[in-house]
């Protein structure tokens, strides 16, 4: 199954706006009534905005020109009413649409998070975590900004522009069409320029990414740079990236800043056309002064939203690109479904029947593996790096499904078990220990429903019972020792201890340790061995290790290399195979 997301095609969507907007529809589901209300409010408020100049023109022509102050007064009252309606409707519009935006963002984030939780480990292995995090954080944020600010402005500006355009043309067809000529020219110019602007902006974003990449790499490895006297490397690499970003950003700025002056120019030309043509029309008696004043206001009402639309355009494009990247995740489905099966073969706690496995599209990492693990015994997997030990262990816990053959847990196809049953039965201490931010105690009981509600003191008792409390001495403040988000303050050995306690406390039937103690000192490791020995007699343990003392107590040793899993027999022959195996590799 391919879960790899597209990271190459960084171009923004080329589809027309209409198609882009329709793709926003699904995430707006359930908001129909609110959106309808907002659109209604937008229409009303745009209508009031557009009616006001008409009324003013009428007041000028009908009353001011005829010295009828009574009329001015009455119609001013009407104008006030229109303004009040505008106040209410624009408030309703902002409020409703803003709420819609926040709820859509909430739903969108929920949808992605739920999807991420449903996708298997392969998905996370096939994609860079940085890219995934950026999709969820940055891309949803772009969509947020769009919904929170731009969409409302977009809709109301579009409505205003449309309304003003219609009024311009309908009040006086020739004058109206003439006023719109600069707009058409400017739209054509925008189309021609947008490729240039897009390329320049993209280049600038790219160099910015390059810049932070350089800084991140150097700062994270600062100790090496200092210890090897390479501050010049840091400075030079950075200076290059900084300069590249500078020139790309200036070019992008020069490109993208063309639009506002251009639209301003169009607005001025539109005004000029109306003014000049209008004066001629007044001269011919085809237009009144009041209407000309109203007309000039409409030109402003047409070109100002158009200018706003131009600046919102970029935000819309970004939101659509973000939506693209998120939709890509949402479209994925896990292929690791539950396959019902009642067939029970043998009573081994874990068995591989002709199992083959390859990572997506690659060569077989394991081919036709057969073995079975008996209840209560300890097994060791040894072999050179890259030989397939971790893969074998991952298949045991159904982190992946085999490409052929069957993995059996307690005789049944492992795919027939629910995730809950698997988690209960199998404990797996991963090669790279992962800690959540919080405390050591939080991390030990993490994901363990039996201990979730225990108070600190009770937890210590349970750890005592399991013989684990001695390990807490390795932490300054015991269970309360804080774990920061990056886990920087913990040594690798300490993280491994926490992962060990987390797994041992769950009392699984099958416990897998994947180089789980590589960075723990041998005295503590002895303690861990005692803890393992004290687990219920029925517990089956699988140990993957480099250090031979860790696998000393194994009942049986498997040698894993080149896609095969071979029983090694005695410790001596295992060491022998390890040596020879390494000679080959």
């Amino acid at each position: 199954m391919h879960y790899r997301l597209n990271t190459q095609d960084t171009n923004q969507s080329k589809e027309p706006l209409r198609v882009g907007l329709t793709r926003l529809l699904p995430v707006m589901a359930g908001e129909g009534r609110n959106v309808a209300l907002a659109v209604f409010a937008i229409i009303i408020s745009s209508a009031t905005t557009l009616t006001a100049p008409l009324i003013i023109a009428y007041i000028v022509d009908r009353f001011i020109a005829t010295n009828d102050y009574q009329g001015v007064f009455v119609w001013s009252g009407l104008l006030l009413g229109v303004f009040l309606i505008g106040l209410v409707s624009s408030y309703v519009q902002s409020r409703t649409m803003g709420g819609v935006g926040r709820r859509i963002l909430f739903n969108l984030r929920n949808a992605i998070f739920t999807k991420l939780q449903a996708l298997p480990v392969a998905f996370f292995n096939q994609n860079k975590s940085g890219d995934l995090i950026s999709r969820i954080n940055n891309d949803t944020d772009k969509i947020n900004q769009f919904f929170a600010q731009a969409l409302m402005q977009f809709l109301s500006n579009a409505a205003l522009m449309l309304g003003a355009g219609v009024l311009l043309v309908s009040l006086n067809v020739r004058l109206g069409l003439a006023a719109l000529v600069p707009a058409i020219i400017v739209l054509i110019a925008t189309r021609m320029l947008s490729g240039w602007v897009k390329r320049a902006s993209f280049k600038s974003l790219q160099t910015l990414g390059g810049l932070s990449g350089e800084v991140q790499e150097s700062l994270a490895n600062f100790k090496v740079i200092v210890a090897f006297n390479r501050l010049d490397y840091f400075r030079n690499k950075f200076a290059g990236a900084n300069q590249a970003n500078y020139s790309a950003s200036v070019k992008a700025g020069v490109a993208s800043n063309i639009f506002l002056p251009l639209y301003g120019l169009a607005a001025n030309l539109g005004t000029l056309i109306v003014l000049a043509y209008g004066i001629i029309l007044i001269g011919n008696g085809e237009l009144t002064t009041g209407l000309l004043i109203g007309y000039i206001l409409y030109v402003t009402n047409f070109y100002t939203p158009m200018r706003q639309l131009a600046s919102i355009w970029a935000s819309l494009q970004l939101a659509l690109a973000g939506l693209d990247r998120i939709s890509e995740v949402l479209a994925l489905n896990s292929d690791m479904t539950i396959v019902p099966s009642d067939e029970v073969v043998g009573d081994a706690v874990m068995a591989f029947d002709d199992v083959s496995f390859s990572y997506s599209g690659g060569q077989d990492v394991l081919s036709d593996i057969c073995f079975s693990l008996e209840r209560g015994k300890t097994y060791a997997l040894i072999g050179p790096t890259g030989g397939g030990k971790t893969t074998t262990a991952s298949l045991m816990a159904r982190l992946y499904d085999p490409s052929a053959g069957t993995v059996r847990l307690n005789g049944r196809d492992i795919r027939a078990f629910t995730a809950e049953e698997r988690a209960e039965t199998i404990g797996f201490i991963l090669q790279e220990p992962f800690l959540f931010s919080g405390t050591v105690g939080d991390n030990i009981v993490y994901g363990n429903p039996a201990y979730a509600d225990l108070a600190g003191g009770q937890l210590v008792d349970r750890l005592d019972e399991a013989g684990l409390s001695g390990l807490l001495k390795r932490f300054d403040q015991g269970l309360e020792t804080p774990v920061s988000a990056s886990g920087d303050a913990m040594s690798l050995g300490q993280k491994q201890l926490i992962a060990f306690m987390r797994a041992a406390l769950r009392n699984p039937q099958l416990l897998i340790l994947d180089e789980a103690t590589a960075n723990i000192d041998t005295v503590t490791e002895k303690l861990l061995e005692e803890i393992l020995a004290a687990l219920p007699a029925q517990t089956t343990t699988v140990i993957i290790a480099h250090r031979l003392n860790t696998i000393n107590n194994a009942d049986e040793i498997f040698f894993v290399n080149g896609g095969t899993v071979t029983p090694a027999g005695s410790m001596e022959s295992a060491v022998d195979m390890l040596l020879n195996g390494q000679m080959q590799s």
């Binding site: 408030y91 800043n257 030309l269 797996f428 994901g447």
Partner: protein, 582 residues
């Protein structure tokens, strides 16, 4: 998370403006272009007013109107585009120079500084903080200048036309200003809380991605979802409150503006009727009102940009102002290799990572440091290589304080192999010959000593193969050996190994150590390790526990005198046979 309060405690925008002093030519040009462009904009309504008033009269020339207006439009276009180009250039220059200054400061600091401030905070300083300052230059300066100019200019012109009506209309300015201030002062803390909620949300998401394997193993998706939904709900709640405040603001401002329009129509209409005002002036009044309102909004929004930029620049300023580390001496004589550690105390966080550690290493000898997890072994090596400054105590090389040496000369001769593998996105050759002083011969010798030649031979591009940043395509053992080769390529006099054996099997390990002895005669070796087997014939072993050196001696001595050492020894006893075979 260190007290967000102190960061926002009235950020001093004066400093921010002081930042601009070296760019005064650019800023002056920017201000000049902005004012010129806006002056032209103010002329527009005048032209319109004259056109409307003159429309009926005989001596009115339409051609001159068109000429004037075209000149105006072209002028506005050129000036505004020129202004945006200048502000882009100025902003990017400020940002580039600020980054360069930051990098110069950081690279003048020692490792302890980066460790204390943390790499991620420095990255924020270099990216988003600089961006905030950049948007101040690229948006705020021109906007504020033009807004102030337009407000003042439009007000004066209104007053010139009719001061009574102007005063009436100008009453909207304080009303709008006040409602803006009222809402913004309430929204700002919400913004900050919104950002905090977002950070929290992002943390939950990040952890769910980085810990995805664990979550699947423990079937704890529901737990993660619960964490997520709380964070997401909080973010939504704050977002909705912000929406609530802002959705009232803009309509109210527009309404207040409309009231001014109403005043113009009714009161201005009265003036026209009574003959004290022309219809053209009446139109101009309406146009100027439109010009007047927008700048008030802009200033309101820009006050946010200025506040953010001030806070960002203050954070940058803290980094720039951090005092340089104590300078080291100039001693650069070739090292003999005698090391003396005396009364060393190293603080890490709140507790002492090393407490009164003393031992000495004769030149050319081999010393092992052994001890449990979190005993302070890595801190000891860091102090010995000068990466961190001890709270008290001494590290001496050949009888001279480590700080008497020229830093570069010391790093050239004292090489440290770090516990974690650090590879750069460079070729394998550049990763190993990372120091500039490495020649081909040293490189070759280092590669052979680290037993990497076979591995290099399997690579299609050999030494020119590009290694990815996190070295994902390499196994743990390969990365570790590259780290060793990098250190050896310096031809060091002293080699410090940090748990080098953890990811290398015993056989390769003993081969490598034999290679080191053969190829680098006279090298002084200090090795932090977990395994006793390989160090039994070392010249001395230091047993380090909870920051204290409990026992020092040879293997033969310690096995009789140190219970802790015996304990470690016993824990490994059963497998020694195999290790020996290997």
């Amino acid at each position: 998370m260190s007290s967000p309060n102190s960061a926002r405690a009235r950020p001093n925008s004066g400093k921010l403006f002081a930042l601009l002093v070296p760019y005064w030519r650019w800023i002056a040009l920017l201000v000049g272009l902005t004012i010129a462009g806006n002056s032209l904009n103010l002329v527009g309504p005048q032209l319109i007013a004259r056109a409307i008033d003159g429309a009926g009269t005989a001596n009115y020339s339409l051609t001159s109107l068109i000429e004037q207006f075209l000149a105006l439009a072209a002028g506005v276009f050129i000036l505004t585009y020129g202004q945006s180009i200048v502000q882009t250039l100025a902003a990017e220059k400020v940002a580039r120079d600020l980054r360069t200054k930051l990098i110069a400061t950081i690279s003048g600091q020692d490792f302890a500084f980066v460790q204390k401030v943390t790499a991620s905070k420095l990255l924020t300083n270099l990216t988003s903080d600089v961006d905030a300052v950049k948007s101040f230059v690229s948006q705020a300066i021109a906007s504020i200048v033009s807004s102030l100019f337009l407000i003042v200019g439009a007000s004066i012109l209104l007053m010139l036309i009719d001061w009574q009506l102007a005063l009436l209309v100008l009453m909207v300015v304080p009303i709008i200003g006040f409602s803006f201030y009222f809402v913004l002062s309430r929204v700002r803390p919400l913004f900050r809380r919104g950002q905090e909620a977002l950070d929290w949300l992002n943390k939950v998401i990040n952890e769910s991605i980085l810990g995805s394997s664990l979550i699947r193993l423990l079937n704890s998706q529901a737990l993660e979802y619960d964490k997520f939904i709380v964070a997401n709900g909080e973010s939504k709640a704050i977002g909705l409150r912000i929406v609530g405040m802002f959705s009232a603001l803009i309509p109210i401002i527009i309404f207040v503006t409309n009231l001014a329009t109403l005043a113009i129509v009714s009161f201005g209409g009265h003036l026209v009727i009574s003959g004290t005002m022309t219809l053209g002036d009446f139109t101009a009044f309406n146009s100027y009102l439109g010009i007047l309102i927008f700048p008030i909004l802009i200033i309101g929004f820009m006050s946010n940009v200025v506040a953010q930029a001030s806070a960002s620049y203050e954070r940058i300023g803290t980094v720039l102002a951090s005092p340089p580390p104590e300078p080291w001496g100039r001693r650069d004589d070739p090292l003999h290799g005698d090391i003396e550690v005396a009364g060393l105390n190293v603080r890490y966080g709140d507790k002492l990572a090393l407490e009164n550690v003393s031992f000495s290493v004769p030149a050319g000898s081999r010393t092992a440091v052994i001890g449990p997890t979190a005993a302070g072994k890595t801190q000891l090596l860091y102090a010995m290589s000068g990466l961190i400054v001890p709270e008290s105590g001494h590290v001496r090389y050949d009888g001279h304080e480590i700080t008497d040496y020229d830093k570069q000369a010391l790093h050239q001769q004292v090489a440290l192999v770090f516990q974690d593998s650090v590879t750069f996105a460079l070729s394998l050759r550049e990763n190993i010959a990372f120091s500039n002083t490495v020649d081909d011969l040293s490189l070759q010798k280092a590669i052979e000593t680290a037993e990497l030649q076979d591995f290099v031979a399997t690579l299609p591009d050999g030494l020119d193969t590009i290694i990815s940043e996190r070295g994902t395509s390499l196994s743990g053992g390969q990365k570790q050996r590259i780290m060793l080769a990098r250190a050896l390529a310096l031809n060091p006099r002293v080699l410090l190994l940090d748990d080098f054996t953890a990811r290398v099997d015993s056989r390769t390990e003993s081969k490598i150590l034999a290679n080191v002895a053969a190829n680098y005669p006279g090298l002084t070796l200090v090795s932090v390790t977990q395994k006793i087997g390989p160090i039994e014939n070392y010249d001395q072993v230091v047993v380090l526990m909870e920051g204290a050196a409990l026992a020092i001696g040879t293997h033969a001595e310690l096995i009789h005198t140190s219970p802790e050492y015996v304990q470690i020894h016993n824990s490994q006893q059963s497998t020694d046979d195999y290790a020996l075979q290997a």
